[in-house]
């Protein structure tokens, strides 16, 4: 810590902090036009100069990058400094046209504010008329470089945070401007960070043009409903319509958003939204009243329960539900419907990761927080193409590698954008990632690089693990998987010897059983290297949906009750019996796959599907479709008329995340609030629907007045949520475990030890690596960064930038097949199902691999995929 005085205020800040940060800590504002805490200080605007007196000498220097030192005395606004700032502003105005009346940024323009603040009455410098480029052709974003003040924040955030470099400074000196190459329209991630960070109106959101002045907009602070990173969103609204989305710089994501967060919200305004309930009459879904539809649903379930027993009902929920909805859904299914046949996300996805982590570490969750990634020295990515799935987490890696020179070890079947950073790429076929991790563990054990203090002391099962790894020598694994043996060794050494190392796992929907194995291997690796329970260490399991973690916390599985209680554990069951005033089934129910298989064979008669679209999203589309067709009674509750809804007997329109209250629990266990925007609410919230159905089915217990009341109950029965209440969530939520209302949460799990006493190292299974035959391609079901699943497909803006699925191939394979970009190809599975789509060249794809985004229902890609077969082998031909 260093202690200094800023404008007479004494303040202590961390060593290495800038004078600007010290001033902020002291509550003193220093004007600046080129500084943002996410960026490396740049020092271009020269407005932040201050007078620094140290060791008897006074000097002026910029505050944004000069470090604060002990004993400095800082003056931030002497007459000389203010005069200098005025000159600086006048110089900026020299080439900044004063189009303020028609500028999109008026009222929210830093330059305007500072000019006003410094009362610059006229323009003493001859104005410079220059013409810089305008770009009206790009998606979402408009460039008017005539307004640019060359602060470089757009260029810097694009490179330093996003890792994109889609825009650059071009030309030099007076002619410097910001552009793509040859002024072409943008072709990038469309994160909109450049427009958001621009302090003036040079880069702006197209939707704001002529729409609303910034000061006319109302602000709704909520949480993003796409992926699991829990970014704060601020919906800027006018006339009950969102026109712009940004994010508070004080939020956990520090104001950064990805394309889905910033532009994806249009899904809520989609024409595909369900507004009126539908009931099947004479084989046709027909619009019905709420009364009619709810009665039909309740009666249908009651009928099946009565005639076939509760075991004949299966329920599929979703990680899109809020914690409160998930909790009530679980209660509804397990108590009112009376069955434990409940699952979500196909029973795979994020759930499988937590299932792998929990037995080893004691918690089915990530152990650390997202913002710690930037300070990790080594980052291990297991099957995690974060550029596509979790762009904001990718930003953390860009920052770690870019400015702190962290190294990245990537275990993946494809090259990702992150394999280009400094580090090691270990190519493992889909589903074989854990084999490489275990091989690293083997190397670490053989070379004695493990954390000797932890083994025995904090962890058990070391010998069993070692024994199970006999086959996992780097040589053996390297030859089986075709990896360089030294790369495995080097990766193991780098990871083990790093002062801090984090493991990042990310799962799409399709990676089934391998997810558990990957997470287990990762947990073992973290424990034996001692990279656990410390800052910038541990494991992050990044789910695909906004409430991936919450769905696990709320126990939306056949085995669990809320708060990780086991259904088959009598004490737990008793607790919930009395809380829910019911008698819970004593044994675990069927999982998603078993439910659908049951429906296919007739064992399951009724299906209740909430916010889930199994037909498009689950593996083996044909089986899933058949299951829904075979089932006697199907109720689908969703915001869209999805492929699954089309097969339903009753369709209940739900409202979107923009229209309801509730909480999501992010991948870093942060419980965050969802608040409704001012837009008109369509449908009813899932919570309301559960209550209405419960009431119709004779249960009088469902009398929650609001999500807040549900959370009050959750905090009573889930230990890790014990201290969570709506009052205490504040702007940025609380990270669980939160023991009581005074507890602000713990971002690092397993800090003093493990909840189960010692970590229980899990042994590896037999080494079994599936491979593709000659001439077969491996189908890698990728994720497009513009889509994340069901909601994004209904977002007009996301469809605008990514309208159709394209198969990514490498040059060599394209040449072999004789196809060029834009040609159509056909992929045929081993069972003869096929799909057709266009090809595009990609750097990500390696020879023998074809990457296809999995979120396009029109493609029916899931018809090629079988349950529990992570490695999908296909025949590829020119169509």
């Amino acid at each position: 810590m260093v202690t200094l005085t800023v404008d007479g205020v004494k303040v202590s800040v961390k060593k290495g902090s800038s004078i600007l940060e010290a001033a902020q800590a002291a509550g003193v504002r220093i004007p600046t036009l080129c500084h943002d805490k996410r960026l490396i200080p740049y020092g271009a605007c020269r407005l932040c100069i201050v007078e620094v007196t140290a060791r008897g000498k006074t000097r002026t220097m910029p505050a944004c990058f000069n470090p604060a030192r002990d004993g400095m005395e800082i003056a931030t606004s002497t007459p000389a400094l203010n005069s200098s700032r005025r000159t600086q502003l006048m110089l900026l105005l020299r080439s900044h046209p004063l189009l303020c009346p028609s500028c999109d940024a008026a009222g929210d323009c830093e330059l305007q504010n500072l000019v006003f603040e410094h009362q610059i009455p006229d323009l003493p410098f001859a104005r410079q008329s220059r013409y810089f480029h305008l770009d009206n052709d790009s998606n979402f974003i408009r460039f008017n470089m005539n307004l640019c003040i060359r602060c470089g924040m757009c260029v810097r955030i694009c490179e330093e945070v996003q890792g994109q470099s889609e825009i650059s400074f071009i030309n030099r000196g007076m002619n410097t401007e910001v552009s793509t190459d040859f002024m072409r329209p943008l072709d990038c991630e469309f994160c909109g960070q450049c427009a958001d960070i621009c302090p003036v109106g040079a880069i702006s959101s197209k939707w704001l043009v002529g729409t609303g002045r910034r000061f006319e907009l109302s602000h709704v602070k909520t949480t993003c409903s796409f992926c699991s990173l829990g970014c704060s969103l601020t919906l800027e609204e006018k006339d009950q319509q969102t026109v712009y989305v940004n994010s508070s710089h004080d939020g956990p994501n520090e104001g950064s958003l990805c394309v889905k967060g910033r532009y994806g919200w249009t899904y809520a305004y989609s024409d595909g939204r369900l507004e009126t309930p539908l009931v099947k009459k004479n084989g046709v879904l027909t619009e019905a009243s709420w009364e009619e539809a709810l009665d039909a649903a309740a009666n249908g379930f009651a009928r099946i329960k009565k005639s076939h027993g509760a075991q004949a009902i299966g329920a599929l929920g979703s990680a899109r539900l809020t914690n409160e909805e998930g909790y009530v859904f679980n209660r509804f299914v397990k108590s009112v419907l009376g069955t434990a046949n409940i699952d979500h996300g196909g029973g795979i996805s994020h759930l499988s990761l937590t299932e792998g982590i929990a037995p080893v570490l004691g918690y089915p969750a990530s152990t650390n927080s997202i913002r710690e990634i930037r300070n990790a020295r080594v980052i291990l990515l297991i099957g995690a193409d974060l550029t596509e799935t979790h762009p904001i987490a990718k930003n953390e890696i860009i920052m770690a590698t870019g400015r702190k020179r962290a190294r990245v070890i990537v275990i993946d079947s494809i090259k990702t954008k992150l394999t280009e950073r400094d580090g090691i790429f270990l190519k493992a076929p889909v589903g074989s990632e854990s084999i490489v991790v275990f091989s690293m563990i083997k190397t670490i054990m053989d070379e004695g690089l493990f954390d000797k203090a932890s083994i025995g002391n904090k962890a058990e099962g070391f010998e069993a693990l070692l024994e199970s790894l006999a086959d996992y020598t780097p040589e053996n694994v390297a030859s089986k998987l075709g990896i360089d043996v030294n790369s495995i060794r080097e990766a193991a050494r780098i990871f083990a010897q790093a002062p801090t190392a984090m493991i990042l796992l990310s799962e799409g929907l399709y990676r089934d059983s391998s997810g558990v194995e990957n997470a287990r291997a990762a947990a073992d690796l973290a424990v034996i290297t001692g990279h656990i329970g410390k800052e910038s260490c541990g494991i992050m399991a990044l789910g695909e949906k906004a409430n991936s973690q919450g769905a696990v916390d709320m126990g939306l599985t056949p085995q669990l009750l809320p708060g990780f209680a086991l259904l088959e554990d009598e004490a737990s069951r008793k607790k919930f019996d009395s809380l829910w005033k019911t008698k819970l089934p004593a044994t675990a129910g069927l999982n998603a796959r078993e439910i659908l298989a049951g429906a296919e064979t007739g064992a399951i008669k009724a299906l209740y599907v909430v916010a889930e679209n199994p037909v498009d999203d689950y593996p083996d589309r044909l089986q899933v479709e058949k299951a829904f067709k075979e089932a006697e009674f199907v109720v689908v509750q969703d915001i869209f008329f999805s492929s699954t809804a089309k097969l339903a007997d009753v369709v209940l329109p739900a409202c979107s995340a923009l229209e309801k209250n509730g909480t999501f629990t992010s991948a870093e266990r942060r419980v965050q609030t969802l608040r409704p925007s001012t837009k008109e609410k369509l449908g009813k919230s899932d919570l309301e629907l559960f209550e209405l159905l419960a009431k119709r089915m004779g249960s009088a217990q469902f009398t929650y007045s609001s999500p807040e009341a549900v959370m009050a109950e959750i905090s009573k029965c889930c230990d890790v949520y014990a201290g969570v209440s709506y009052d205490g969530l504040g702007a940025n939520g609380i990270i669980w475990p939160c023991k009581d209302s005074g507890d602000s949460g713990a971002s690092i799990l397993c800090q003093g030890g493990f909840p189960t006493g010692k970590a229980k190292l899990a042994p590896a299974g037999p080494l079994n690596a599936p491979v593709a035959k000659d001439g077969q391609f491996v189908l890698v079901q990728g994720v497009s960064k513009f889509h994340s699943g069901s909601m994004s497909m209904w977002s007009s803006s996301l469809i605008q930038v990514c309208p159709e699925p394209l198969a990514e191939m490498c040059t060599a394979d394209m040449n072999t097949l004789g196809v060029e970009e834009g040609n159509t190809i056909r992929l045929t599975s081993e069972t003869g199902e096929s799909v057709r789509l266009k090809v595009k060249w990609s750097r990500r794809s390696l020879p023998g691999e074809i990457i296809v985004p999995c979120h396009f229902p029109s493609l029916k890609l899931n018809s090629l995929v079988k349950w529990n077969e992570p490695l999908v082998k296909v025949k590829v031909e020119k169509a």
Binding site: A44, I49, T60, T87, R94, R150, M174, R405
Partner: protein, 598 residues
Amino acid sequence: MCASPYYRMQLMMCAGTGCIASGSLDVKAALEKELEKRNLQDEVQIIMTGCNGFCAMGPLVVVYPDGIFYNQVKPEHAPLIVEEHVLKGRLVEKLLFKEEATKSRVPLMKDIDFFGLQRLIVLRNRGLIDAESIDEYIARDGYAGLAKCLNEMTPEQVIEEVKKSGLRGRGGGGFPTGLKWEECRRYDSFPKYTICNGDEGDPGAFMDRSVMEGDPHSVLEGMAISGYAIGAEQGYIYVRAEYPLAIQRLEKAIADARDYGLLGKNILDSGFNFDIGIAPGAGAFVCGESTALMYSIEGKRGMPRIKPPRSAEAGLWNQPTNLNNVETFANLNPIMLNGGDWFASIGTEGSKGTKVFALTGAINNVGLVEVPMGTSLKTLIFDIGGGIPKKRKFKAAQIGGPSGGCIPNGMEEVEIDYESLQGVGAMMGSGGVVVMDDMTCMVDTAKFFTNFSVDESCGKCTPCREGLKTMFDKLTDICEGRGQEGDVEFLIELGNHVNDTSHCGLGKSAANPVLSTIRYFRNEYDAHIRDKHCPALVCPDLIDFVVLEDKCKMCGACFKGCPSNAIVWEKKKVAWIDREKCTKCRTCIQNCKFAAIR
């Protein structure tokens, strides 16, 4: 007859860029042909050396053993030289250097003031060795300095020796080299780099080019010594794209040194590894700034970054990096061989050793000179430089490139060292000395330099990007007759603002030419603003050309040269200028031998 022929005579042919441009390669070819004709090719050898420094008089040939200096040699002189001097031992009088003052011919190089008053450390090998021969460099104690370091000294001792020498960075900043190395050595992060800044961007400076072309190994050796001292195994030489010959010679030198194992692994069996790569620049003055230069090597736009961290901590690819310029590195071999104390005995209290200057502009002996620190400007310009041509008056000397300041007539007694120059508002810079005579308009000069800085500004920070342009616009107004009272005060205020708040060295000193010309030539500014007159007759909008009847010799030179037919002249009549047609291009002034037009 004999394995290695013995040459009784060697003709040292200058092959610096200047002399090559003046045709020295043609002269060489002619001489070779002539020698062959007389069957002298085994007896007399022609050696291509680096720049001799006396560029104005090129092409140059120095004949050894006697050291006879021939200048302005043309190919047609070859038979004469061979016949008379080589064969018969008679000097070719007309090719000898002619002393401007005494009008006498001086045969011996060492007797010419231009050479005689210099003290050569950096340029110790100039004109004496074949620029492309590593053996000749070794013969002149080349690589002995490195050998001594590797063999007898620890890196700490090397740094101590450099500190003792008092050597300061010759690139302009004047930061003590030893301290820089010491700091870089302290950081415990590998790899480290040492970079040679050969991006000599100052117009009017070509000393680094001369060293890289004429004595490339001295740079390589210096870099290897610094690599040993700081713990770096890789060096880069950043060379301007405009210096193809330097790149070519450096490439050969690096290849030769690798061949001998003087670069590469385990140099001289010491266990020290060091190699050097060439990073070509691509034309950006700001890349002379250390952080911009490093970005340029990394393949980025050369825009200076913030410090801290300093390059010694996080430079090239964020690794500890030492950066010195060419001249600094060239000083290291003599320092290592003769000791720091020896070096420190030369020069002044604060500035040790010698400094190479490029004398250009309105001066007789345009060229490259090396003098001990503390030599007076007067000695430099009048004794070594031979004074101002055409008997014009010395008006000012601009030292330190476009960012330097002007030293006016009357202050030429100033001793040239880092502190004294700063005291008079100039700076050492890389050592360009541009001499201006009374035909130079100081407002126009300030405008020229400001324009240079505007063009070369990277555009990053506000004061440099916008402020300099504002100043340039104001200077243009003044030069074009739109000056107003208060403009000078405005320039001073804005100039100080730009200097105070700019980010890098370019911006911080970019206003110096304006500030220093205002300081010493305020009257010229006032004349432009108040009288709308340019006293030096340079600014076209503020002058009318007239023929001075009493001086006109009616030769018609002005008439013949006028591109716009504005001059009316008949034989034996005084010319006159048609103001309607005159474009004020100054061609007639240039053409008039009698100074009859003004």
